[in-house]
Symmetry: C2
Subunit: 683 residues, 2 copies
């Protein structure tokens, strides 16, 4: 059992005051939680396994600050623990361009996941714990424990109130993740005031109902032994995640401790002074770290961590010579490389091949690549038979005792928990080892997970959403299930691919680009209904995000029809009709992903959408945003309807003749007008 | 205590077979849950208080089918209970244009809320219960119980797995909503298979931890007495909502009962036949309702309900003469009318007035109208001091015993539960009595509630989201909190106003249009930073959604700058700069709401955006969708940054000179080109 002494108390005061100084200097931020949580952070870091000079070491313990607004505490900890931060960085807290932004960001050294939006971090922690369990189950060998790290998370009342954390916590209990330890900063205060205003549930009982071990620390402000003991006990809980309820005082030591006024505003100068005085520091000095605190952190934290990393390196070298294949696989994964030649397994199609629903085409891709890419780890939010995300020989990721699978399994039964799934996938990706999670749900319900999708894009977690039932084409389930705004929503989000492939080659292209992306997540929107294999498609062309599928023979086109997914085949028929009955020359463009197309050169984009030709987009969803690539849009700026898929398409006019009718109007309207291509821009 | 006999069993068999016939005739839908839940539905409807000929009767009991996929059951119940459905409607289940779509839709008689997206219905039920408690607290008088109705909900395992239901259920326990009774269809099956795959938590214990009463019915398939007893006991639970765990067999009676295969696919014809036979029905007949079942429903359900409604009408007439003011208020609310002249309280501003943050302007509006509109019921997801949603003399909606407020209070402390708040607001609105809920959070976190916002738009619940901190202008909290895609997301959603007002007059206009909308929800995006009062703005002009704020003197404009919210003031400065230093004639258009502007005549829109003039949009969020109204866009197609708000604006070039620079490029690019207005379209 760790012993604590004066140096620990001095270190804790140092941490508290560093955080307070950060917030005061910035004149912005959250001093309350750092003051309350500094003791827990210090005790935790004293037994956390990491090497600050190698923040990517795969067997480090992970620490997630789910209450990301307490980031001033995290920066203080990372600085003292030897990560690549300087005191100067801390002094620039929350300033533009500094290394210490207002919430933790994934790309910073020692920051495991981006947090701030409440509830996400604890779910990421569940993902990290799943990844660790899977990695260990796959690669550990007797005498060669490559992976035995823990995931720790701090979370506040806000995180516990968010539904997303309920979803992931319930699943974590089901999965018996003993490697997950969460510390609830039970300070009884939220922004509005005391938790008695809105949050009077029995949190401990709730977590027990999920199958967690729940421990208590009555005095988290100063009882370091009790904190250490709880952590130790939590580590012994092998088949249950642990929640430690840590009673703390928000803004500990400040004049307004224990109230909401210390949550999110800097302390007043006088308050800072009395705080420093009461902690035995000079009230006139800021950002003070006593040398003995540096020494202590060096000796007790940095050196043991560095040594542990070195020992692991030696172990892994021996492992690699005893298990050369697995060793090479681990090395490859640690380098973030996919197995070479993996993409040769991607299926290709010719127009003679039969029409297939793109959700089924997605299943075919997954079944071809699943065995060869051990870092693929799939799942679905309880729609496996509809999303077709589970390849037939997949093993479920389950505790062995359930008889339903084991931790080496790579298919996760997420339950009806889309948002939790999204945040867990982000955590799995953040673990490293090239983990590539994918998860299925209906496209319309990716919106439930908007918070997690946004963080994937912001953090650059290249997770893949397998989003089936992507339009009114799903039919009878009706408008509650038919996406309208969904593609526009995610197309407007930076750094995310939003694929809507039109046939088999395009589905393969979507997976190819998505999997080759190291820092960009993807949504792949897939149909329930069968789609024909198109003349003119190829993986190579579709991998550009947009391309000319069909050109009129001879002269320049009178019209360009641009479309995506299930409408491309109908548009091809419309183009034929316009050519044969109206002698119009029509180019058809397939644009499966706006994001990837947007990355192409202006020359290429102009070659697809040249000046002088009117462009009509056709997609059975909101037209919003289509004016980026089209002069006119035919879409669905209303909610859908319940009925048979083909009947709904007919009803709204998405048929070859319905489209041809719109097309004729467009050609007539633009006749004689000087037309500028929508990709030909001043800015 | 209700007694049950053979007629009840016959009615239940009738209901089961009606549902099965609906699904079979449609060859689409979910037979499993209706077969399992028919007994509970029958027992519940036997004691439910409603008048099928007056589905809007304010003191009816509400029934919410949170597992909306079991809708075939609901249609059967509504049909037998005398609502405006025919057998023919049931025969057209899930057909295009029928009155029986694939999930329950709000506008149908007897359908209290639209359900299908899991988890929402139970939260709506919490909102209905809040509304009832508030309505009763406000209007009931000794001897005049105008309101004492209950809200009942069925929910499945899927609803319980969704985080949104956790949020609302925790709050319902805190609020001690004794008028809320939920029945968990505990059938142990989800789409993926047995709940043991992903959902092994102790649901009863969890609901107890929220402060609910939990009751059990061991045999929900046939023990009608036990179901009735549980309902009776639940009604006695005055200070706690009740969850009844009802053990049922999914697909009861079918050959595959108790498995996931009966969840979402029609039964095979042979299975239907054996089912009918075993229930004593002719296997060759469909949609059979024995006359005695009609008679029984008439006598036991329809007649008592109609009578109760008549008695209530008489009571209300007496009430109105004894309490004329309150009576008139109730009548007005039941007619769905706001107090006449309410809008005269809306503040107006002139350019001489000081610069104010629009979140503060919103607070001023609320404080002016809150007392005069008793149907306004506000709240915030734990950001009251930031969203400024709580007017100073508001009373909290809280159980009286807490000492924090009472049920007549109209300010709800939602806690950090954005999605729950959204779904609860939808339920409050669905109660009727003209309830107008509004709820605050940061704009970026409205995305957490995307599922509920979508249902507000689809159902036409005119709720108002007070969405502050609407851009990078929020400053130091950084990219995790700064919306980028959010406005585009909701602008792409049908039937929703997305306001981003530029000054005080525009804030008043946003509230005016939002509150006058009977079937359209709104999001009002508001700034953290101060905004100047603009020359040229007015409530009347802004209420058109977009208008010419400033025209160049003399000749036609060389350029139109269109903008929203906090950027409009900067754009006005840019326009002045361009006029004074470059002699460019610049029109400035303010476009606070795309939706409302889109409803104006083409002539009006062309008067704002005429042919022949290049248009540049300026908004510090995603440019996606702006090409609808602009040829060129200056925005932020990347994530934001942590720093002081003004520094970030400067950094990204959103300053008068930064905008002027872009504007010059645009003018140069379009010089000599024939320019078509983006609102001048063929389609």
């Amino acid at each position: 059992m760790t012993k604590f002494s004066e140096i620990d108390r001095l270190a804790i005061s140092t941490i508290r005051l560093l955080a307070v100084d950060e917030v005061s200097t910035a004149n912005s931020g959250h001093p309350g939680a750092p003051l309350g949580l500094a003791p827990a952070a210090h005790v935790l870091f004293r037994q956390l396994k990491f090497n600050p000079k190698n923040p990517e070491w795969i067997n480090r313990d992970r620490f997630v600050l789910s209450n990301g607004h307490a980031v001033a505490l995290l920066y203080a900890m990372l600085y003292l623990s030897g990560y690549d931060f300087t005191l100067d960085d801390l002094k620039k807290f929350r300033q533009l361009g500094s290394k210490t932004p207002g919430h933790p960001e994934f790309e910073l050294p020692g920051v495991e996941v981006t947090t701030g939006p409440l509830g996400q971090g604890i779910c990421n922690a569940v993902g990290l714990a799943i990844a660790q369990a899977n990695f260990a189950a796959k690669y550990n060998k007797p005498g060669y424990t490559l992976s035995d790290s823990y995931t720790f998370a701090f979370l506040g009342d806000g995180c516990l109130q968010e539904g997303v954390s309920s979803e992931a916590s319930s699943l974590a209990g089901h999965l018996q993740l003993g490697n997950l330890i969460a510390i609830h900063d039970d300070n009884k205060i939220t922004i509005d005031g005391p938790t008695s205003y809105s949050f009077t549930e029995d949190v401990a009982k709730r977590y027990e109902s999920y199958g967690w071990e729940v421990l208590y620390v009555e005095n988290g402000d100063s009882n370091l032994e009790a904190i250490a003991e709880a952590l130790e006990q939590a580590k012994q809980s092998k088949n249950k995640p642990t929640l430690i309820q840590l009673r703390t005082t928000i803004g500990f030591g400040s004049l307004n401790e224990g109230t909401s006024s210390v949550h999110g505003s800097p302390l007043k100068p006088d308050d800072v002074k009395q705080l420093k005085k009461s902690f035995g520091f000079n009230p006139e000095e800021s950002f003070v770290v006593p040398q003995e605190v540096y020494d202590f952190y060096n000796k007790s934290i940095i050196e043991p961590g560095t040594k542990a990393n070195q020992e692991w390196d030696a172990l892994f070298a021996k492992y690699s010579s005893n298990f050369p294949e697995l060793g090479a696989e681990v090395s490859r994964r640690l380098e973030g490389k996919l197995p070479s030649g993996w993409e040769s397994a991607l299926p290709t199609y010719t127009p003679g091949d039969s029409a297939v629903a793109s959700r089924k085409l997605s299943e075919i891709v997954l079944s071809k690549i699943f065995d060869n890419i051990p870092e693929l780890i799939g799942g679905s939010a309880d729609l496996s038979p509809s999303n077709l995300t589970r390849v037939s020989d997949a093993v479920d990721f389950q505790p062995k005792s359930t008889g339903l699978g084991d931790y080496s399994g790579r298919y996760i039964r997420y339950g009806v928990r889309e948002h939790g799934m999204g945040a867990i996938m982000n955590g799995i990706s953040a673990f490293g080892a090239n983990f590539r999670p994918y998860g299925g749900t209906f496209l319309n319900f990716v919106s439930y997970a908007a918070g997690a999708v946004r963080l994937a894009a912001l953090s650059g977690h290249p997770v893949i959403w397998v989003a089936t039932h992507d339009s009114i084409g799903l039919g009878e389930d009706g408008p509650t299930h038919q996406p309208i705004e969904t593609l526009a929503h995610f197309r407007a989000l930076p750094n995310i691919q939003v694929w809507r492939p039109a046939d088999g080659n395009e589905v393969s292209a979507a997976y190819k680009v998505a999997l080759e992306s190291k820092h960009t997540p993807s949504i792949i929107a897939l149909s329930r209904q069968n789609l024909p294999q198109l003349e003119g498609s190829s993986i190579e062309k579709a991998a550009k995000g947009g391309y000319v599928l069909k050109n009129p023979s001879g002269a320049a086109p009178d019209l360009i029809l641009v479309s995506t997914g299930s409408e491309v085949g109908i548009v091809v028929e419309a183009a034929k009709k316009l050519e044969s009955t109206k002698s119009l020359k029509v180019r058809v463009v397939s644009l499966p992903d706006f994001h990837t197309f947007g990355l192409q050169s202006k020359e290429y984009k102009l070659s697809v959408f040249p000046d002088g030709v009117p462009i009509l987009s056709v997609e059975v969803l909101s037209t919003f945003g289509w004016s980026k690539y089209a002069h006119e849009s035919f879409g669905l700026d209303r909610f859908g309807a319940s009925g048979k898929g083909p009947a709904i398409y007919e009803h709204f006019g998405f048929t070859p003749s319905g489209i041809a009718e719109k097309a004729e109007k467009v050609v007539a309207f633009y006749k004689g007008k000087k037309i500028i291509s929508p990709v030909n821009k001043a800015l």
